[in-house]
């Protein structure tokens, strides 16, 4: 008997939680991006698990698209980080607070 879906789902939930905690607590924009990748992967894992459970290839297709979007996101995000770093010499998001009320 194969490993039940719930195990993988719980694993994905834990991964998501760790990623979310990282996004909220780490100040470096780079680390935040990595944490976002963790969260995306948690979602991916969920999709794949459900694709197997439901016997539907659609879940895996979605993961494929998520990867593409993640790649695009990282590309642009890191571009922004580089551009900001040129002006600020820092990757800390706490210093980017010009838009405060």
């Amino acid at each position: 008997m194969t490993i039940p879906a719930a195990w993988y789902l719980i694993l994905a939930a834990l991964l998501f939680g760790v990623g979310a905690f990282g996004v909220v607590t780490r100040r470096s924009a780079l680390i935040m991006f990595m944490c976002i990748e963790l969260m995306l992967n948690a979602v991916n894992l969920t999709f794949v698990t459900f694709a197997r459970t439901m016997s539907d290839i659609g879940g895996q297709t979605t993961v494929f698209f998520v990867m593409v979007v993640a790649a695009a996101e990282v590309t642009v995000g890191l571009g922004i980080v580089v551009a900001v770093f040129r002006r600020r010499a820092s990757t800390s998001v706490d210093e980017l607070s010009e838009l405060q009320g």
């Binding site: 939930a13 698990t49 694709a51 197997r52 290839i57 494929f64 990867m67």
Partner: protein
């Protein structure tokens, strides 16, 4: 208990994947040095790839390693190297009051809630695709073939849209990262330097130096 209920290889595979994922993830957020975080991210992604493999998603496992662990993490490392490793910030000092505490509580409650939901739900295998006209996950067929069929038929429009998205992202990244024509303060300072050296004889050099500083 586990050994009795499930095949030992399966349990081993799951356990290794889980350990890789969790240790890697915790590493990403706990490491002080971004380079180490990136390396931990690779470890975590390898675990995810293993979990994919264990669930018959061969192509995605490969793509996970090639695209994520390969390209994306390399891009991260490249940017880290490019900007210089920023060790100045102290990850253990939190300037925002209550941020870490609230985050911990929020995340814990969320994860606990999710686990409750996952564990308490009963997932019926193979019922959904028939009811939703999805493409069935045929156990015998090649995973890549199925995925290809799905992407190039059912999800063709989305696939083309992602192509456009990637182009836009690339162009955007180039525009963002391109250095402007430098009319930087450094250049101005150099010009003033030259002038000051020429004015050495003058009495009120101090003023010029004030401007310079």
């Amino acid at each position: 208990m586990l050994a009795l209920a499930y095949a030992i290889p399966d349990v081993l595979v799951f356990a290794s994947a889980a350990i890789l994922i969790l240790v890697g993830a915790v590493g990403v957020i706990a490491m002080k040095n971004p380079v180490h975080s990136a390396l931990c991210l690779i470890m975590c992604l390898l675990g995810v790839a293993l979990a994919f493999l264990a669930q018959e998603a061969d192509f995605l496992a490969a793509a996970e390693i090639i695209v994520y662990a390969g390209a994306i993490v390399v891009l991260f490392l490249f940017v880290i190297m490019f900007l210089g490793v920023d060790k100045s910030q102290h990850p253990h000092v939190e300037p925002l009051i209550g941020q870490r505490w609230l985050a911990g509580v929020g995340v814990l409650v969320t994860v606990a809630g999710l686990i409750t939901l996952m564990a308490s739900s009963h997932w019926v295998s193979g019922v959904l695709s028939a009811s939703t006209n999805g493409t069935a996950l045929a156990t015998g067929s090649d995973n890549i073939t199925q995925l290809g069929d799905s992407v190039f038929t059912t999800y063709l429009l989305a696939f083309e849209a992602t192509a456009g998205l990637l182009i836009i992202a690339v162009v955007g990244a180039v525009l963002l990262a391109r250095r402007e024509r430098p009319i930087d303060s450094d250049d101005v300072v150099e010009v003033i330097d030259v002038d000051v050296s020429a004015w050495d004889d003058l009495e009120d050099v101090d003023d010029v130096e004030d401007v310079q500083s």
